[in-house]
Symmetry: C2
Subunit: 407 residues, 2 copies
């Protein structure tokens, strides 16, 4: 049976930790699994190389950046293979190219197009453990390409899909997916299972264990993921799988907190048809990730717009707003906000989840500035100072510390 294991940057952060990872791999191999292992760069390396690049160029999308950054994973993968070979476990490192990962030509944020598993399959047949340099592939131009932030997760999930692996285990420094951030709510409980859909909502909302793109790909190719810790490999972790595999659907699976948003208020916007459309299409063209939008009804030919963007897109957003000076009386930016989200598959079929959230926050005198909902999520923008209080209140309201989630 084939397993794909993926180890993040902190898991291979130094030589001792690489040995720790080798130990985990050896135990899995001793259980007779075929193994394809994907590794990130040793923590700090990518940032260091990235700072070198910035010293010379602001053009962060150059193909030279791919060549540069991909070196980090080549280093960690060959070191791990060296260690395993020395310890009697035949291993071979592979670059993205050697692993057959073909991408499009969007350098520094390439998308995987196809995977030719020929090399990997051949090496697996000869009993070798394959150590793939994550985060990278190659283009039809023959150049190395990189997959963008969190790209190693993506390498792992894509390989698991292409190789029909029984499971893709993603090792980080956290031992699974929790009902909430345990640093904020100590009573947060580790989930045994969670659906792709819930995980997508949670990870897009700031739960940093798994990258949104890799969960999307897992969903698409039906890859079962286990999120677990390389520092406590004996702990089971959380299975991320399709809804159909989850018998008892939790009404609410978790509370996510995202402090990385800015609320932008546009006041006195000319109520001409299409102004809002123009603003948001300009933002989209600049790849600003607009999240929540509220528009108030027009009064005296003027309307108001409220929306949120990630903090890193703030400067771009401000520049775009300048283009609409004539149409907007006043713009204000508020970074002192946060987004609280309640996520759960059970919401689909149960009413009352949303009203419970509003009631709970009201009881704590927390004002909700924007609300948006999807089938399995309610998000609320509140003042940042209430972030932790809000998380704890909601966590308690939905009894998330208990396995049985009735309320």
């Amino acid at each position: 049976m084939l397993k794909v294991l993926k180890f993040g940057g902190t898991s291979v952060g130094d030589l001792e930790k690489i040995q720790n990872v080798a130990n985990i791999i050896k135990k899995e191999k001793d259980k007779n699994y075929d193994l394809v292992v994907v590794v990130s760069a040793m923590s700090g390396v990518t940032n260091k190389l990235s700072s070198y690049a910035k010293h010379f160029s602001k053009d962060s999308s150059s193909k030279e950046v791919d060549m540069l950054l991909s070196a980090g994973e080549r280093i960690s993968s060959s070191l791990l293979a060296l260690a395993l070979n020395e310890q009697g476990y035949a291993s071979i490192s592979m670059s993205g190219r050697e692993a057959g990962i073909l991408t499009d030509c969007h350098y520094t944020r390439a998308k995987i197009q196809s995977i030719d598993t020929k090399n990997i399959s051949k090496a697996l047949k000869s009993g070798q453990i394959i150590i793939v340099a994550g985060f990278q592939g190659y283009t039809k131009e023959g150049r190395v390409s990189t997959l963008g932030r969190g790209g190693s997760d993506l390498s792992a999930v894509a390989l698991a899909g292409a190789l029909n692996a029984s499971i893709c285990e993603i090792y980080t420094d956290v031992d699974g997916i929790y009902t909430s951030d345990p640093r904020i709510e100590p009573r947060a409980r580790k989930l045994e299972k969670i659906s792709y859909e819930e995980m997508l909502e949670l990870s897009s909302l700031g739960a940093k264990v798994l990258q949104t793109r890799s969960v999307e790909m897992a969903k698409k190719f039906d890859v079962n993921i286990i999120s677990r810790s390389s520092f406590a490999p004996e702990i089971e972790g959380t299975l991320i799988t399709k809804e159909g595999n989850i018998m008892e659907k939790a009404l609410v699976s978790g509370i996510a907190l995202d402090k990385n948003q800015v609320r932008i208020g546009l006041y006195g916007v000319s109520d001409k048809p299409g102004i809002a459309a123009l603003i948001f299409s300009d933002l989209a063209k600049s790849q600003v990730n607009v999240d929540m939008i509220v528009q108030t009804v027009a009064v005296n030919g003027k309307t108001s717009l409220d929306f949120t963007v990630p903090i890193e897109d703030l400067e771009k957003t401000q520049n775009i707003m300048l283009r609409f000076k004539k149409d907007i009386q006043k713009v204000d930016y508020n970074e002192k906000i946060c987004k609280l989200s309640v996520v759960g598959l059970g919401m689909k079929t149960n009413s009352g989840v949303a009203s419970k959230a509003f009631e709970t926050l009201a009881k704590e005198n927390i004002n909700i500035r924007i609300i948006s909902t999807s089938e399995i999520k309610i998000s609320m923008i509140i003042e940042e100072k209430y972030a932790e209080l809000g998380v704890r209140a909601l966590h308690e309201a939905y009894h998330l510390d208990k396995t049985c989630k009735s309320f």
Copy 2:
């Protein structure tokens, strides 16, 4: 006209020095040269990666070591290309594979088999400066391979040969080839030209500017090399070329000093036919680089053997000598020796060069322990404490501080 430029590890040692290299390249490009640039890893990087490898494995010939070490040149080449692109000079980095450098499968010490210049030629035609990651190629197995110590020089000379470059300029932190080490003999003079043959003798004898293998390759493919400094690019440097290009052949071109030798004395060796042959063939099989050998005439059925090996081969040599315990009465090892060499094309046609050397050392009361000569070289083993005195005495005896070298 095409130039190949090569920059060593100290020349690209940090970001500021990489910018300095970019400036040199820009000046050359402004003179309308087509440019292929070969770079080493930033100084310290290869050693650091190498120490990581040693932490995990003593098997320094593993292909994983190639994967690991080759990352260093990928980093420096992409950084340099980034810098040049940003400054308006279209550039592209290429790995050994992209540059078409096919090697044999002797990982960590691969030999170049052929170079497919297709990619480079195409990029040159489009006006780009090509920045090649030195020290590496790829094998027919599709893996990255490395060329061993000094491999980047070899990449540069091989590319210059394959591309029919007009010149291969090798930039280091020294501004050329000197008649002797200027740290020992301040009156040492920089040579304008030197033949491959002389350079080979000098570099195999401890002059560290150019690796023996790259000079051999330059000789084979008739590549003109200029050795010059990246920290003083305005200084002309030394041309290394074929004998035919050197009009006035110097009687003596330089004095080399090699402190990296151990003298091994074997006493009371059974004077059986073939014992010496057995010893030296065992040494050769273990890749011990035996340099000078002297055998004394047999007395009472016993003979003596004196030879030298590089210090790094001492342990191997000692192990091999154990096999001959029965045939040798006594072995001693002397590290406190050094090898002085006098090198010059003119020796071929002039007598008296050797006797001048012996006289000079005798005058200083320096005892010569072993002598060996070739067509263009006289080497002498003396006590290490006389090393500097010997160099200076010979330098003066042959009037090497003056351009006109009659004596």
